[in-house]
């Protein structure tokens, strides 16, 4: 394909676009000892501005994205990212502020952050919120570290086990391990709820807490949540809420009211900050009163009309700092703007319409003959279709289905997660898609199943209409090619 790596392949002696030159700059950087200087120029691309613009513009067109495609990716909440959030968070005054600027020159942004903290508290029912974590996984880490700090502060140092349902996101156990805990899995019952008996057997004096998503990753609201909370609390453990699925219940049910002690939120999911091809996210944490001393820094507090930062010195029990400069501020601003545009009513509507879309899509797919993993349950904002019959009867698997969906202009739902459902498609339409999108998706699914029956090869070789055909992941891992190198050196 012409243009690929054109950037790095251009000759090194090419002149630099002067538009980016720093005039007056001399390459004889005075005072730098020769021994510490670079000997060979780095093999960076050497291209003109037009070449770069054209290259990256064309690359962008090879992506699916919310702005171009329906993206029913379960557990990822791929909804519309309002353009206003981008432009207002990018106002010159916000972009220019240095992270170490004094409070006297920071009241504008601090007001936004403070109000965001307050809104997140209100909508989750938590007592305190820190915006510091840079993404959901970092929020999880902060959350479990706070659980640990809580037990440690009480001298309850034998509580070294975190319970995690087998349906949980992989980040849950990974975060628990990073916080120095052991992980014990709790099975999910046939109805999709946590196996409460298994939970009762699992809790004990070693229990530090449980990490739960509710609605869970199987797309249902765990009806026993109160029993779960009592069980864990009675055993001396704390409840951690994985906010990945908060979109489903935003403003309808509050994690704090369910009995959770600590929660992280994925602002790039529930609060519609951009996914950006894999970040940046933001993973604020909320806590009940007893965990408040441990919140990660910095926090914004208000004193009269003035806002102040609280850092390590002000909060000696804090689990500390998670990034150098306090978090993904530009993302927090976007979430703030989005939350203000929604308001309380709009937040409730998020849950209403994401549930409506999910249940409608589920109903239509069921009618179209697809098998649901939990047919007796309401969908939350997402639900699971299992293609095990299609796999058995037509010899095509979920990945084949997924790749064929790309050909029809639909991003694939989440595949093979949660692991406990075979040939699993986790489907989350979100509230910002219209009925036409959902109906189109049902049509595509139906067509593909007919294709699976009649010409399964079509699925197995899919995609056919994308910039590339199916990519060889095994080869990628075996013959590692992770960076381009100039010809002479390799």
């Amino acid at each position: 394909r012409p243009g690929r790596r054109a950037t790095a392949q251009a000759p090194l002696q090419a002149p630099i676009p002067e538009s980016t030159q720093a005039p007056g700059a001399r390459s004889d950087a005075d005072g730098l000892p020769a021994a510490l200087r670079r000997k060979r120029r780095a093999a960076l691309p050497e291209v003109s501005e037009l070449q770069a613009v054209r290259h990256y513009t064309r690359l962008s067109q090879k992506n699916f994205s919310i702005d171009t495609h329906f993206y029913p990716l379960g557990s990822c909440t791929m909804k519309y990212n309002p353009r206003a959030c981008n432009s207002l968070a990018s106002l010159p005054g916000f972009l220019a502020r240095h992270p170490a600027a004094p409070e006297s020159h920071s009241q504008g942004i601090m007001a936004c952050l403070f109000e965001l903290q307050e809104m997140l508290k209100a909508v989750t029912g938590m007592h305190g919120v820190s915006l510091a974590p840079a993404a959901g996984a970092q929020g999880e880490l902060a959350g479990v570290m706070m659980i640990r700090a809580y037990h440690d502060a009480r001298g309850d140092t034998d509580r070294r086990e975190i319970l995690v349902p087998d349906a949980a996101h992989g980040t849950n156990p990974a975060s628990a391990i990073m916080a120095g805990f052991d992980v014990r899995e709790i099975p999910t019952g046939a109805d999709g709820d946590v196996d409460i008996d298994a939970l009762r057997r699992a809790v004990g004096p070693q229990t530090a807490g449980i990490m739960l998503t509710n609605p869970s990753t199987v797309g249902v609201f765990d009806r026993n949540i109160q029993a779960i909370a009592h069980t864990v609390h009675d055993a001396g453990g704390l409840l951690y809420y994985d906010g990945a699925n908060l979109n489903a219940i935003l403003g309808k049910v509050r994690p704090g009211d369910m009995g959770f002690d600590v929660i992280h939120m994925n602002l790039h999911k529930t609060f519609s900050t951009p996914h950006g091809g894999g970040g940046p996210g933001a993973g604020p944490v909320g806590v009940s009163k007893r965990l408040e001393p441990y919140l990660p820094v910095p926090l914004v507090v208000r004193d009269g009309d003035e806002y102040h930062w609280q850092a390590e010195g002000d909060r000696p029990d804090s689990i500390g700092r998670l990034t150098a400069f306090g978090g993904n501020m530009g993302i927090l601003l976007r979430a703030y703007i989005y939350a203000r545009m929604l308001g309380a009513e709009g937040m409730r509507r998020v849950a209403d319409y994401s549930a409506l879309n999910a249940n409608y899509l589920m109903a239509r797919l069921r009618t179209a003959g697809f098998q649901l993993a939990y047919p007796e349950r309401r969908a939350s904002h997402e639900f699971i279709v299992t293609l095990k019959h299609e796999a058995k009867n037509f010899g095509v698997n979920t990945m084949d289905f997924a790749k064929r969906l790309l050909d029809y202009g639909y991003h694939a739902p989440t595949t093979y997660f949660p692991l406990l459902v075979p040939e699993c498609l986790l489907i989350e339409p979100t509230e910002t898609e219209d009925k036409e999108s959902l109906d189109g998706f049902v049509d595509a699914m139906t067509t593909i199943r007919a294709e699976a029956e009649q010409q399964p090869q079509l699925l197995k070789e899919a995609p056919h209409r994308l910039p590339v055909r199916r990519l060889d992941d095994v080869r990628a891992a075996r013959h590692l090619d992770l960076a381009w190198r100039p010809a002479e050196s390799g």
Partner: protein, 465 residues
């Protein structure tokens, strides 16, 4: 309804298909007593026009003071093309490229980013970003302890002249992994870390040595000597580097005889606005031998069913969504959009462009510190070569001086006192290529006046009341 596309007819038809009467019926599996009553604390929604007004006022409120703070975040010129392309919907609103065929744009950008970062650091492989420089260092520390098979010790040497916020972040993140962070003092005359100090601090075995280049004071370390020293003790070397500085400075892969093993740092100078501290971009590169210990996403080149080249995420067996509790890290979402910006930024500048930026910053900062040191009582704190910023000793309490300057809309630098009380009164200043001679003059003149006032005030004058 903001962002909800449904018409009343749509809703009615959809409810009928589902077989319920009202949307609220869809929540009937939720115990009624749990249903939220109200959301006091969340104000009513406002229009885009109204929130625009609010945000414009607040952005204006923080002004755009003349800024001479560096300290890990640097104001560089960002070519207009960078963010105009980065915010295209196809990059901005795309998901992590798990469906590789539908994500070749993002994946090729990741691959190009990895290529550019390995070129800059002189190492073999790069991941596709971490949250920021400090958390990248924390991951580097964890990785080094895992990866060092010769030394079982969980001790890691962390010099005191490393960025204080980085030291705090590393401490927060690794605290439950049984890792001991050993602080290494710096030379009071040079501001750098010496082998003698390392020897003394190390005591015995250690898994890794962290070397910032330049260090927090802007002082250049003798990286070759330190690297060889650590390697001789079977420790791994982690370089913490500024990517713009790398255009001129020896890359970690070239340090000492064998090169540093891991390099990490803050990618913000590669096209990210200051933006109050984020989102920025942590990078992490290493020698090929350690690639399976590298946390975070990695894009690789492969072939498609037609034998055509394409890109995909690879080595996912390291990651949490596959390995769960055995993953190399819990990281999942990283800083994809910033990677896009950094990649475009580097492509637009090229190596020579980055060199010019680095040289201009360096020259400007030298000019600034020379100018300021004309003021009586202001002098360099350290006598070793510096890059890009410089620590100064002041003749008056730093916090007071900075407050007076701020009142004149000048942010005069980073106060070293709170983190290094032994250096008080001391100030870290920086002038990147965006500061003009007029800016430097304005700072000089204002500082001279502030210090003149302050030092006069020090004379023992009896209060008149």
């Amino acid at each position: 309804m903001p962002f909800i596309p449904h018409t009343e007819d749509d809703v009615a038809a959809m409810l009928a298909t589902i077989g319920v009467d009202r949307i609220d019926d869809l929540f009937d599996e939720i115990p009624p007593e749990l249903r939220a009553k109200d959301l006091d604390g969340v104000p009513a929604g406002v229009s885009e026009m109204d929130i625009s007004r609010v945000m414009q006022a607040r952005a204006r409120e923080d002004g755009q003071p003349l800024c001479f703070i560096g300290a890990g975040a640097y104001e560089h010129h960002i070519p207009a093309a960078v963010w105009q392309i980065t915010t295209r919907g196809e990059f901005y609103s795309a998901y992590t490229p798990y469906q590789a065929e539908a994500s070749q744009g993002t994946l090729q950008v990741l691959y190009e980013f990895q290529s550019m970062m390995t070129a800059l650091t002189g190492l073999d492989v790069s991941n596709a970003s971490l949250y920021d420089g400090a958390s990248a260092l924390a991951e580097a520390v964890l990785m080094a302890v895992r990866a060092n098979r010769k030394v079982k010790s969980p001790r890691v040497l962390l010099p005191r002249n490393l960025h204080p916020a980085y030291r705090r972040t590393v401490r927060s993140i690794v605290r439950h992994q049984g890792i001991e962070l050993v602080e290494v003092p710096f030379d009071r005359a040079g501001g750098h870390t010496t082998v003698e100090q390392l020897e003394a601090a190390a005591g015995g075995e250690f898994a890794a040595l962290v070397i910032p280049q330049p260090n927090f004071f802007g002082v250049l370390e003798e990286v070759d000597e330190l690297t060889d020293w650590a390697h001789a003790r079977n420790a791994l070397v982690i370089g913490v580097v500024n990517p713009v500085a790398l255009a001129l400075l020896s890359p970690p892969g070239d340090w000492g005889t064998a090169g540093a093993d891991i390099a990490c740092g803050e990618g913000q100078p590669l096209g990210m606005p200051l933006a109050s501290g984020g989102p920025y971009l942590g990078f992490l590169c290493c020698k090929h031998a350690f690639v399976r210990q590298l946390p975070g996403r990695i894009a690789g080149k492969t072939l498609d069913a037609d034998g055509q080249e394409g890109f995909t995420l690879t080595l996912q067996a390291r990651e949490q969504h596959i390995r769960r509790s055995k993953a190399t890290s819990n990281i999942c979402t990283n800083q994809g959009l910033l990677v896009t910006a950094a990649t475009i930024h580097m492509a637009l500048l090229g190596a020579e462009g980055l060199e010019r930026v680095a040289a201009a910053c360096h020259a400007n900062s030298r000019k600034l510190s020379d100018r300021l040191c004309e003021i009586p009582g202001v002098e360099p704190l350290f006598d070793r070569p510096v890059f890009h910023e410089r620590a100064l000793r002041l003749p008056a309490p730093t916090a007071d001086v900075l407050r007076s300057l701020a009142a004149h809309n000048i942010l005069g630098g980073f106060d070293l006192g709170p983190d290094y009380p032994e250096l008080e009164p001391a100030l870290l200043v920086c002038a990147t290529e965006v500061r003009t001679d007029d800016d430097l003059d304005a700072y000089h003149d204002k500082l001279a006046r502030v210090i003149a006032t302050r030092t006069q005030a020090r004379c023992p004058v009896e209060p008149k009341f």
